[in-house]
């Protein structure tokens, strides 16, 4: 079920010198809502995601996050780029925010065991008890359908699909509120993709996560997202309910995207 707004993107613009990343993007992400950002490579999707998740400072505009102070319980909207210090922003990325990268090597530590990859995130936010951390790591491996006896193996020994599932377990282990996913199924075989999509769909529902998922695959958007934004040359050209945009696209570029899908 979809709740109140959690993240507000307000006229977000990112320029790399003369080159445009994204321009004047505004939208709200609600609690429990999955928003897909689609468009071709170079349309500004990943730039937008990096700015939203606090990893890239925007040129102008705001990214406000609704946060409850852990001690005082005071609720407030804070701009993650302007109102947070660098350590606070890094802390946000270890707690309420999580990122799932297209390439699992960007989100995992390849020389650390599977269990260690999950436990590390927990330890970074204060968990210390070895047995408890290991038990929780096992629980996460189970949730992402990785066998218990792989807990001491390094991700280098895993297949692409398993690595991606491990990355998701690592990201979700700290109980984030907002998860940013950049092409999480890109580069995987279709059968592996289907399994991963089903897994993501279930986890999102079970934990009531808010998700922004960047994808060029409209089928992924159809399956996972409540709402979608279509980007072209840094601009959001159309947005709406996923089935509205896919079944009745209004903008010239959305129509081109939808009509270009290959059907089997």
């Amino acid at each position: 079920m979809i709740g109140a707004p959690l993240l507000q993107i307000d006229k977000l613009t990112k320029q790399y010198g003369q080159r445009v990343g994204c321009t004047d993007v505004s939208f709200d992400l609600r609690a429990g809502e999955v928003v897909a950002v689609v468009g071709e490579s170079g349309s500004g999707k990943s730039t937008l995601l990096a700015c939203m998740s606090g990893r890239l400072p925007p040129t102008s505009g705001g990214v406000r996050f609704h946060q409850r102070h852990p001690l005082t319980h005071v609720e407030a909207w804070r701009d993650i780029h302007q109102d947070l210090s660098e350590p606070e922003r890094r802390s946000l990325l270890r707690t309420d925010f999580a990122v799932v990268h297209q390439d699992p090597r960007d989100g995992l530590r390849m020389t650390v065991s599977a269990g260690g990859n999950i436990g590390e995130r927990k330890m970074a936010i204060g968990a210390r008890h070895y047995n408890a951390i290991r038990a929780e790591a096992l629980g996460w491996l189970h949730r992402v359908e990785i066998d218990d006896d792989r807990i001491d193996d390094r991700p280098t020994a895993f297949s692409g699909g398993m690595r991606q599932r491990l990355q998701i377990a690592r990201a979700l282990a700290t109980d984030p509120k907002v998860v940013f996913m950049d092409e999480p199924t890109g580069g995987l075989d279709v059968s592996v993709q289907a399994r991963l999509l089903d897994l993501i769909r279930r986890l999102v529902g079970d934990f009531g996560l808010s998700v922004v998922i960047v994808t060029h695959d409209l089928a992924v958007a159809r399956l996972l997202a409540h709402r979608m934004l279509v980007m072209r040359r840094g601009l959001v050209v159309e947005s709406g309910l996923t089935d509205q945009v896919l079944d009745d696209p209004q903008h010239e570029y959305s129509q081109l995207l939808v009509s270009s899908i290959l059907r089997v």
């Binding site: 399994r195 709402r227 509205q244």
Partner: protein, 263 residues
């Protein structure tokens, strides 16, 4: 002492008549002046007007059939009522499931439309959109889970619905992706009818069904009507239409050629 002894006993207690869940005859859905034009950008902004000034209203307990030749816009109108297609003019007001409050589908925010679909409007399309790797039982139980029914109860209800629609039990744990057209359509109906919503949109629910299943589906529609559900359906099967529908709306009347320039 039991309370039965105090009751003025005579005739064996008749089962109480089932109460409709929603008031029979109460307005549930009203479309007013709906206009829809598809604009095809790749064909030099080609404008295809499909509906002009389409209006209808449906009350609880009645079933309204949309009729008209193929291509007249019956399915388009259905998709508009569900908020799947956007419109250029008009409004679609739907009365919420448990408040005396109306929402306009045409101007509602995405999350409001999702909420309408979750509890107020049911829709059985012609084709089941299959989520890969999800079992038939879970596909059917999903609308109940979405309204907070416990997983165990939702799966029990799904078993009942699938059994009633004669989907063999050995198929329940499989994805409907592997099913025949008729089986898929029955899964679609089970999913669409498993949780009661006060408005129900049915696009060809009896197409490709055998006689026994057709009978079951028509009975299910009659049960929904008795519960006070407002039903809008497209039925090519004229006999089915005569049996469950109270009146017909000819969508041809909303053709832009018949009602030009309804601004």
């Amino acid at each position: 002492m039991t309370s039965q002894n105090l009751a003025p006993t005579s005739a064996p207690a008749a089962a109480p008549a089932p109460q409709p869940r929603w008031e029979i005859g109460a307005p549930r859905l009203e479309a007013l002046g709906v206009g829809k034009t598809f604009t095809i950008h790749a064909r030099d902004q080609l404008a295809l007007p499909v509906l002009a000034d389409a209006s209808l209203s449906v009350v609880g307990g009645e079933c309204v059939a949309l009729i008209g030749a193929s291509g007249a816009g019956k399915s388009t109108l259905m998709r508009i009522l569900y908020g799947n297609y956007r419109i250029q003019t008009g409004s679609i007001r739907v009365r919420l499931v448990d408040h005396d409050q109306w929402v306009d589908v045409a101007s509602a925010e995405p999350h409001e439309i999702l909420e309408l679909r979750r509890r107020t409007i049911g829709y059985v399309s012609q084709f089941l959109e299959v989520i890969p790797r999800v079992s038939t039982l879970d596909v059917v139980a999903e609308p109940l889970l979405a309204v907070g029914v416990a997983a165990h109860d939702a799966r029990d209800a799904a078993r009942l619905a699938l059994g009633r629609l004669r989907i063999p039990e050995r198929l329940w744990e499989l994805s409907p992706l592997t099913f025949s057209g008729g089986e898929r359509q029955r899964v679609n109906i089970a999913r669409g009818l498993i949780r009661r919503a006060p408005c129900l949109l049915l696009d060809e629910p009896t197409a490709s069904l055998d006689a026994a299943n057709r009978e079951t589906v028509l009975t299910m529609i009659e049960e929904a009507k008795a519960d006070g559900v407002a039903v809008i359906g497209i039925f090519h099967d004229a006999e089915a239409r005569r049996r469950v529908c109270d009146r017909e709306i000819d969508v041809t009347e909303f053709s832009p050629a018949v009602r030009p320039a309804a601004q």
